[in-house]
């Protein structure tokens, strides 16, 4: 709209004009599309920005641009982001993709935080966390992030986090504990801020007015609202929670039916038929989705029989193979020790894993510590360089005297936490058992060194679980450290203070379940389980606590191939849930029971069939699955290299 420089924040005039234009267009929509009883004067557009864009994938052609608005109604502020209509017929994002990301009347009372990102190259963007889930990054192609935040500040309580200047907390409580968090619903604030019914009413009104693009409020959506209202226990906070869940769901639901239409054929047909279609989809070219819309009968394939649905996925995954052995491994190397065809290697490992003795050699490649095209000689050289680099960092904390430590609270606390955790990590394994076990000491040293290597991220519980198998395999202290560093390049965001990495995974998980198993999704929705917290441990430490040690090693090397998806672990979650879906739904598990049930699955999960299912699910989900996962979701590498904790290292060391 106003192609100004992204750092030009003086677009107030535009903004005033735009907001007028915004309100009038809103009125127009209002009268032409829907007869609403609400007075249009009631809602005021206080901020409007065009060319705010979502990047569902790394491909420029798939970006979706839209209009971002802040709307004030009564004492409540809402945010909307509506994608533009498709201009050209061959534009990549399908209608489904677009609806997927539409943000309709998101009340600020639901928002926990907004994080501003300023990449060195590219556009500023913000990530909004609401109801415990992060929306995909919104890129401001035409600038205006500061104004966006300033406008919000005029209308709701928003404070800058004391720990992170780019994190803005909404509904903050001045509480030091609270300050570090940006996530999840805060019923306290809601209960006090909006009387339970009026909150939902204004939400409703806004919805009615601001669905111009697709023009209809689905009847499920309306029923849903009604259902919630009829509950009406005035002081019951769960209604607020419900509403917020429904917000997220709404966001996802509209897409799913669409995605299914785009994607799957007659859901009630025989297995064979469906299977063929999915199989063919896998091999077809990218424009397939748009063709599908015309060819395929538009029915939402809620499988009539859940078991039947399961059977299909079972048939699908390829049989597991025997692990990669030494002899075969040597065929992947050239005479100088380079890996000739990394993709072939990854595929091989994906289907079979690696023999135990070979892991020490192969893992550093999978983790990205060694590059595939490095030679033996180069790696040997790197080993000594990295070893001394490690010693240097280790020295930083080793040289802290007890006297110094007395006045270094953060150091003492961090060290104390690590000490408490290493003695609680895998002690039943002979490698770590017994008093004064030297490997426990090593684990301690590596973790403390890491917390100096990456001071901002520091130490967080769960890290010792991630390190344990790596040290067990690598044995060498410095090698284990650098492999751990490589792993945390990808999984570090799991431990972010604002839990952003976890939220984007939980969000992606909820969308993938909706895509791949809508009955289960609906069940979770009805039972207040959509936050997927019962999968928290799975995701945080990559199923480390769910399998026997040896199986965890196998699973990890398979996941690290990033074949067929970087996010296979999310499909592993779904595979496990689907194995137990009949029980979960049949026994009508509520949130507590489900959490307990999932926790107790630990040690009971058979890895190989789950991997086959996960592969099948991943293939079924295809591009729509990939598009359900916000960019930068771990274990993807962070979106831009100068991201949060990388450059903060420099400040400290």
């Amino acid at each position: 709209m106003n192609g100004t420089d992204i750092h030009d924040l003086s677009d107030d005039a535009d903004y005033a004009a735009a907001s007028k234009q915004g309100s009038s267009s809103m009125t127009r929509n209002d009268s032409s599309k829907r007869s609403s009883s609400t007075d249009p004067e009631d809602a005021e557009v206080v901020y409007l920005k065009d060319n705010v864009t979502i990047h569902p994938t790394q491909y420029a052609a798939e970006r979706i641009s839209g209009r971002l608005k802040l709307i004030k109604q009564g004492s409540s502020l809402f945010m909307t982001w509506i994608p533009y209509k498709v201009q050209s017929s061959n534009a990549r994002p399908s209608a489904g993709d677009k609806n997927l990301y539409t943000i309709k009347a998101l009340p600020f009372s639901d928002i926990q935080s907004i994080r501003r990102h300023t990449p060195t190259i590219g556009w500023q963007y913000v990530i909004v966390v609401s109801s415990g889930l992060a929306f995909p990054p919104l890129y401001f192609y035409s600038g205006g992030v500061r104004e966006f935040l300033a406008t919000i500040k005029q209308h709701v309580l928003i404070v800058r986090s004391s720990e992170d200047a780019n994190l803005f907390l909404v509904n903050n409580f001045q509480d030091p504990l609270q300050r570090t968090l940006s996530s999840l619903e805060l019923p306290g604030s809601l209960a006090s801020r909006i009387p339970s019914s009026s909150g939902s009413t204004s939400d409703n009104n806004l919805n009615n007015k601001h669905t111009p693009e697709d023009g209809h409020l689905s009847s499920t959506q309306r029923n849903n609202k009604q259902r919630q209202k009829s509950h009406d226990p005035a002081r019951d906070i769960s209604i607020n929670v419900l509403e917020k869940f429904s917000l997220v769901t709404k966001f996802a639901r509209e897409t799913t039916s669409q995605l299914f239409r785009d994607n799957l054929v007659d859901g009630h047909g025989p297995n064979e038929k469906r299977r063929t279609n999915w199989a063919s989809k896998d091999h077809q070219s990218q424009d397939m989705a748009s063709n599908d819309v015309e060819v395929v009968p538009k029915r939402v394939p809620v499988p009539s029989d859940p078991i039947e649905f399961d059977k299909i996925t079972l048939v699908w995954g390829q049989p597991r193979q025997h692990p990669l052995g030494l002899q075969e491994w040597s065929t992947f190397l050239d005479y100088e020790g380079r890996i000739v065809d990394p993709n072939a290697l990854k595929k091989r490992i994906f289907y079979g894993g690696v023999e135990h003795n070979l892991r020490k050699e192969v893992w550093p490649f999978l983790l990205g510590y060694y590059s595939y095209d490095s030679t033996d000689a180069e790696r040997e050289y790197a080993w000594s360089v990295k070893k001394s680099e490690y010693e240097t960092i280790k020295n930083q904390w080793q040289s802290i005297s007890p006297e110094q430590a007395k006045r270094f609270t953060k150091f003492r606390e961090r060290k104390g936490l690590i000490e408490k955790d290493v003695v609680r990590t895998d002690r039943s394994l002979s490698f770590y058992d017994g008093d004064d076990n030297p490997n426990v000491r090593l684990m301690h040293d590596i973790l403390l060194t890491y917390s100096f290597y990456n001071f901002d991220l520091g130490y967080c519980q769960g890290m010792s679980d991630l390190l344990s198998p790596i040290l067990f395999i690598m044995k060498d202290e410095s090698e284990a450290f650098w492999c751990f560093v490589s792993l945390l390049e990808r999984l570090g965001p799991n431990f972010n203070r604002d839990q952003s990495g976890m939220h984007s995974q939980l969000f992606a998980l909820s969308k993938l379940v909706e895509l791949l198993d809508s009955p289960l999704h609906n069940y979770f929705k009805q039972n207040d389980c959509l936050n997927y917290f019962f999968c928290f441990r799975w995701l945080l430490i990559q199923f480390k606590r769910e399998f026997e040690y040896e199986k965890t090693l196998r699973l990890w090397e398979v996941l690290w191939t990033h074949y067929p998806s970087e996010h296979l672990h999310l499909y592993v979650c779904i595979a496990i849930l689907k194995r137990h879906r009949a029980k979960i739904m049949g026994e009508q598990m509520d949130f507590d029971t489900l959490l307990k049930f999932i926790n107790e699955l630990s040690g009971q999960i058979d890895l190989d069939p789950i991997l086959r299912d996960a592969e099948a699910l991943c293939v079924c989900a295809g591009e729509n699955g990939a598009a359900s996962i916000p960019p930068g979701t771990p274990p993807s590498l962070p979106i831009e290299d100068s991201s949060i904790y990388h450059n903060q290292d420099d400040e400290v060391l």
Binding site: L177, I237, R424, G462
Partner: protein, 206 residues
């Protein structure tokens, strides 16, 4: 059994990482101590049947992670709590200083209907360590804090030696019951109910 009324009482254990929340819960429910419990990730709960005045109750005890970074998860678990147990380690000053944060955090996230009178209990754990020689928070100081916060009951415990654990949880159950009384659910007298609660009970001896 089937003709008894059953009530679920929900108890949340909070406190800094490593103060012994998981150990206390296991000592109470399973009567054992292991120094191989893992650091808690996410949340879990154990249940125990308790009897009071000829009535059976199921105590559902929630154990969450102590690290600050995971606090945002709390809200999903604190909802509907009947009693909150605040634990600190008598050998770690910071864990005592943080009690106030835990208390306030709980009140914010759980938003009980009557925060003034919501039942808390404070446990000073690990009194066994080094024969009490390494302790840094005195009983007097702890009791003063509890008194100032509205006469919170206080116990000095050792999950390791099983000192005062049973006693503390009896008070916890009693106070939870007082709080939960109004929300009591009378379940219909069917076989279904019996089997469900039995599953609950057996699900907990891990």
């Amino acid at each position: 059994m089937p003709s008894r009324r059953r009530t679920l009482l929900k108890v949340i254990i909070l406190g800094d990482s490593g103060v012994g929340k998981t150990s206390l819960m296991n000592q109470y429910v399973n009567k054992k101590f292991s120094n191989q419990y893992k650091a808690t990730i996410g949340a879990d709960f154990l249940t125990k049947e308790v009897e009071f005045e000829d009535r059976l109750f199921t105590l559902q005890i929630w154990d969450t992670a102590g690290q600050e970074r995971f606090q945002s998860l709390g809200v999903a678990f604190y909802r509907g709590a009947d009693c909150c147990v605040l634990v600190y380690d008598v050998n770690v000053q910071k864990s005592f200083d943080n009690l106030n944060n835990w208390r306030e955090e709980f009140l914010i996230q759980a938003s009980p209907s009557d925060p003034e009178n919501f039942p808390f209990i404070v446990l000073g754990n690990k009194v066994d360590v080094d024969g009490g020689n390494s302790r840094v928070v005195s009983e007097k100081k702890a009791r003063a804090w509890c008194a100032a916060k509205g006469d919170i009951p206080y116990f000095e415990t050792s999950a390791k030696e099983g000192i005062n654990v049973e006693e503390a949880f009896q008070v916890i159950a009693k106070n939870a019951l007082k709080n939960g009384e109004e929300e009591e659910i009378y379940l219909p007298d069917t076989i279904d109910v019996g089997s469900t609660s039995q599953q609950r009970a057996s699900g907990c001896d891990c």
